[in-house]
């Protein structure tokens, strides 16, 4: 552990002290209570003992220097292993370090990218760098070797100069077009991302900068410190989303630390300068979210934002945020997926009979209101298990096959809302459990009590327009899923039944199911099979296992 030794406060009115003598040198062992230095203040002169055992790893204040009280004058390393007072200079001289801390630069910087080796090749692995940082390279000279799933090849330099940075190490795999290194066309060394800015500077300015750092930089930066700085920067450079709105660094920090998603942030209204979301706004939201009031706030917001206008008998109503979000989601889905819809008709006799007989019993014994939807949900998760491609999503040209089923249930919210919370691991829940989960999500969605986690991460959705009496529809897929099952109303219909090769007409409870699926991934074959599976499961439902 590194212990800071500070200039002690020697009295109420004393604000500074002069270090008059060091009793120990850097690297010396010190014991607790052993005198390590002497100080003089305008009131008293005194000797200062060490508070710990260890090794004097660093001296920050030299003899005859005057510093404010509480200034760190030295560092004692108590852990003797790492305490070996690694001489700073050696650290700096480490070649890799040296290059990264150097600030001198000249010439243009040229990005070296992972080349695209064929139409379907999306990534490549660097298997060997032929040059190291600081090496001169000629144009067309081999710079590194890569391996892709199609070809392995050597990559030549596109420009002469000096290899100043390597971002992707050997055996690392990156997407094509990723910058893997940089060449400075006229030589020189650069440091990190500052290079782009610095390269614009004239040689003199740079010399002056370097000189300045030499003069004032009495203490070199320790590697540990630098790592700290770097990780901060990296954290900074991850914006949590793209937006036209400005968020202050503080608001972004709060969002990041409190796990507020970018969408949530976008939905907040601001009271700051120019309607900006301020610390006060986000903290108020946070408080509401913790107390489960989040969606309520959104609802009241709609009222505030409404502000209608009349023009030539046409009322102009600005969309509220919920409407805007639904609009964006729908457009996005239409533009993303190739929708096709297949429809089947299901005879619900078994389930209808079961519900008529047992609904009351379940209500009384378990407090569960069994509905057609819970049976359909059960059949759907079974079908998803059978046909996992329907439980997938697309990312670029990759198929992400989900090993879990988070079943989304679309819930309409009066007067103007739609939300699709999902039942986590729905494949591990029986019909009764699903019934309970659907009722619970529906209730909480309508009462604005959903948790953020419950509206993300769905893998397949069901929408039940049958409750409005609709027979069938062509639902829009809830992105990034690849399928959605539309449930129509269960109605009694005359149907042809064949018993012992004799056709006759009977009255049966019938229901249409329509499946919209993304043709990019799911073809008619799979869609049809999936739908058939659901139909068969429902028509032959084993009601002993509800």
């Amino acid at each position: 552990m590194r212990v800071e030794v500070i200039m002690p406060k020697m009295g109420e009115s004393i604000h500074e002290g002069t270090l008059i003598k060091w009793h120990k040198k850097k690297g010396d062992k010190v014991s607790k209570d052993e005198i390590i230095f002497e100080i003089a203040t305008d009131k008293v002169d005194t000797e200062i003992p060490s508070s710990v055992d260890g090794i004097l790893a660093e001296i920050k204040v030299f003899e005859n220097e005057t510093v404010d009280i509480d200034t760190v004058v030295a560092i004692i390393e108590t852990d003797s292993e790492s305490a070996e007072p690694a001489p700073k200079k050696e650290v700096v001289k480490d070649p890799a370090e040296d290059l990264q801390t150097t600030t001198k630069v000249g010439g243009n910087l040229i990005d070296v990218v992972m080349p695209k080796m064929g139409e379907s090749v999306m990534e490549g692995t660097i298997i060997k760098w032929h040059k190291s940082v600081g090496d001169k390279v000629e144009r067309d000279e081999i710079l590194f070797e890569i391996a892709t799933d199609k070809v392995d090849t050597e990559v030549p330099a596109i420009s002469a100069g000096t290899l100043v940075e390597i971002f992707v190490k050997e055996n690392e795999t990156v997407d094509v077009e990723t910058v893997v290194g940089r060449i400075s066309s006229e030589g020189g060394l650069v440091k990190g991302k500052e290079s782009e800015i610095r390269s614009q500077k004239s040689e003199e300015e740079i010399l002056e900068t370097t000189a300045k750092e030499t003069v004032l930089g009495e203490n070199s930066i320790l590697p540990a410190d630098k790592a700290g700085v770097k990780s901060e920067t990296e954290k900074q450079s991850h914006p949590i989303g793209e937006s036209n709105r400005f968020y202050s660094p503080l608001v972004l920090n709060i969002a990041r630390k409190e796990g507020i998603s970018f969408d949530e942030l976008e939905s907040l209204s601001g009271t700051g300068v120019g309607g900006r979301v301020s610390k006060r706004d986000i903290l108020a939201y946070l408080k509401d979210r913790k107390s489960g009031k989040v969606f309520e706030q959104k609802a009241t917001k709609v009222e505030v934002e409404k502000g209608t206008a009349q023009k030539d008998g046409v009322e102009i109503i600005p969309m509220d945020n919920i409407r805007k979000r639904i609009m964006q989601h729908m457009l996005n889905s239409r533009d993303t997926s190739v929708h096709v819809t297949a429809i089947t008709e299901v005879e619900m006799t078994i389930i209808d009979k079961f519900l008529k007989e047992k609904k009351k019993k379940f209500m009384e014994e378990d407090g569960v209101k069994l509905t057609f939807l819970s049976f359909i949900a059960r059949a759907t998760v079974k079908a998803l298990r059978e046909y996992p491609m329907m439980n997938a999503s697309l990312e670029g040209e990759n198929i992400l096959l989900k090993k879990f089923v988070n079943l989304g249930i679309a819930v309409a919210i009066e007067p103007n809302g739609l939300i699709v919370p999902n039942i986590k691991n729905a494949d591990e829940i029986n019909t009764k459990g699903l019934s309970r989960a659907i009722a619970d999500l529906g209730f909480r969605a309508r009462n604005k009590k959903l948790l953020p986690d419950e509206i993300s991460g769905g893998t397949f959705s069901i929408t039940n327009y049958g409750v409005f009496g609709s027979l069938f529809g062509t639902p829009i897929i809830n992105q990034p899923e690849v399928g959605i099952l539309g449930v129509g109303a269960v109605v009694k219909k005359p149907v042809v039944v064949t018993i012992d090769d004799v056709d006759s007409i009977a009255i049966k409870p019938m229901m249409y199911l329509s499946l919209s699926h993304d043709h990019r991934l799911v073809d008619g074959l799979l869609g049809g099979k999936f739908l058939k599976y659901v139909k068969d499961y429902l028509e032959n439902f084993d009601t002993s296992k509800v």
């Binding site: 510093v67 404010d68 700290g228 202050s248």
Partner: protein, 467 residues
């Protein structure tokens, strides 16, 4: 017949004249009423003339005490006290005239005279003899009558021996000795001014520190500095009474139960200010007053009477010109129906122009802790700044207070040369909700004193390069 206006503003200080100009800009027919020159206390008897005096003191101090450090020999150095005062008065006049010009340029009507509320929409104008000369009728009336030095019975101000800031900046002769009662910004600035020119100065402060609203560390540093330069300072000390005896003032003080008498040729009472609320007709119209100031809604500045508003010192602390101006603009814009953010009273900078200067914004260390923040403190002494070294101003430091949880800059406290200019960066950072990273990653020009702000931020996170 009454003259009709959209907005009538009573008082032409930094609250009133700014309100008048903003109102005119937004298309209101506006009148501003003041019995004196425009600019109020700030321009005529406060901020500006005292800054002029302070500049004299700084120059004299450099020539007298530091010329040698710079290799400059000064012989026969002397000063003319009345010329110093004259310069200050001249500057006040000039700047008041430029406010006249701004008022004319914006076509605001200027009425000179005493104004008194006659009804919720009428102001009567009276001349120096108390004769009513005019009635002004307005939809909205804004009271911006400011404040005056507070006078309490134990310290009977006679404006000759026991004086206020107004007399202190226009004395015909330099006093041999001066006791300053109250070590707020006004007291401390006059103490510095007179002490620098050789008056024997004693400061008496009732609270534990001079500049008691500042961060304790800053106050203590200033106190040490003043004491080193030879000023006498009594803190945690009460003034029992001040009496004039044989052309000098005898002040009885009490510290830790012990009484003591101090004598000086003048006493400056700088114990605070109170709102100018008398003679305005407030009672007649029924405007509510609370503990010496007009009661308003701090979002709209509306009083309990819907057509009457009040801004600036007359509505109470923090008694700062820049706050009055901010309130003026917010008040007018809200009257216009614009959606504007409210004045954030937690983000107002405060400056004291003695040497070393003191400036601050936001929470002090103590206050931040009281409010339950877990804090990170970053400090950077000017003794580690190359620029401060070069200019021979190595005293003081920058102290920044951050919320450890989210990295918000909660407060900034600067003592040292140009502190009052340096605080602006912290003000912007706080109002834009910048975090420590924003400050650390902003490139500050080298060599400047402002680098100390960046270094202090870095210091809070263990990343400072130069300490």
């Amino acid at each position: 017949m009454a003259n009709k206006y959209d907005v009538a503003i009573l008082g032409g200080g930094p609250g009133g004249y700014v309100a008048a100009i903003r109102a005119a800009q937004l298309g209101f027919k506006t009148v501003v009423i003041d019995k004196d020159n425009l600019g109020g206390i700030c321009l005529n008897w406060g901020c500006i003339p005292t800054k002029s005096l302070i500049k004299n003191a700084e120059l004299y101090d450099v020539m007298k005490n530091h010329a040698k450090d710079f290799g400059i020999t000064v012989e026969g150095l002397s000063y003319d006290f009345s010329a110093i005062i004259k310069r200050s008065r001249k500057i006040a006049d000039r700047i008041s005239k430029s406010v006249d010009y701004l008022i004319r340029k914006n076509e605001v009507v200027r009425v000179k005279g005493f104004g008194k509320l006659l009804s919720k929409n009428e102001i009567g104008i009276f001349d120096t003899e108390g004769k009513q000369t005019e009635i002004i009728e307005a939809d909205k009336i804004i009271l911006a009558t400011g404040a005056s030095p507070k006078i309490v019975p134990p310290i009977p101000v006679d404006r000759e021996f026991i004086i206020t800031s107004k007399e202190a900046m226009s004395l015909p002769e330099q006093p041999e000795s001066l006791i300053v009662i109250g070590a707020g910004a006004i007291g401390v600035e006059f103490a510095y001014f007179y002490h620098t020119f050789g008056t024997k100065v004693t400061i008496i402060e009732m609270l534990d520190n001079i500049l008691p609203i500042e961060d304790e560390e800053v106050s203590k540093t200033l106190e040490t500095n003043f004491k080193k330069s030879g000023m006498e300072i009594y803190t945690s000390t009460r003034v029992d009474k001040a009496v004039v005896v044989d052309g000098e003032v005898v002040v009885t003080i009490e510290k830790d139960g012990e009484k003591k008498e101090l004598r000086a040729s003048k006493v400056l009472s700088a114990i605070g200010v109170s709102g100018n609320i008398s003679g305005l007709g407030l009672e007649d119209v029924g405007v509510e007053v609370e503990r010496g100031h007009i009661k308003v809604n701090y979002e709209t500045y509306q009083t309990n009477i819907d057509s009457i508003y009040a801004i600036g010192d007359v509505i109470g602390a923090p008694w700062l010109a820049h706050v009055a101006s901010a309130e003026a603009i917010t008040c007018i814009e809200r009257i216009k129906g614009m959606e504007v953010a409210s004045v954030d009273y937690g983000k107002i900078p405060g400056c004291t122009y003695c040497q070393p200067q003191v400036a601050s914004i936001g929470l002090t260390e103590q206050k931040a802790k009281e409010e339950g923040y877990e804090i990170k403190i970053g400090k950077f002494p000017f003794s580690a700044s190359g620029k401060a070294f070069a200019s021979g101003d190595r005293e003081g430091f920058v102290k920044l207070i951050f919320d450890a949880k989210y990295g918000e800059l909660l407060g900034a406290h600067i003592i040292g040369s140009e502190a009052t200019e340096l605080i602006a960066e912290a003000g912007l950072a706080i109002s834009m909700e910048a975090t420590h990273e924003s400050i650390i990653k902003t490139i500050h020009a080298h060599p400047t004193l402002s680098e100390a702000v960046m270094e202090a931020a870095a210091n809070a996170y263990g990343e400072s390069i130069h300490i």
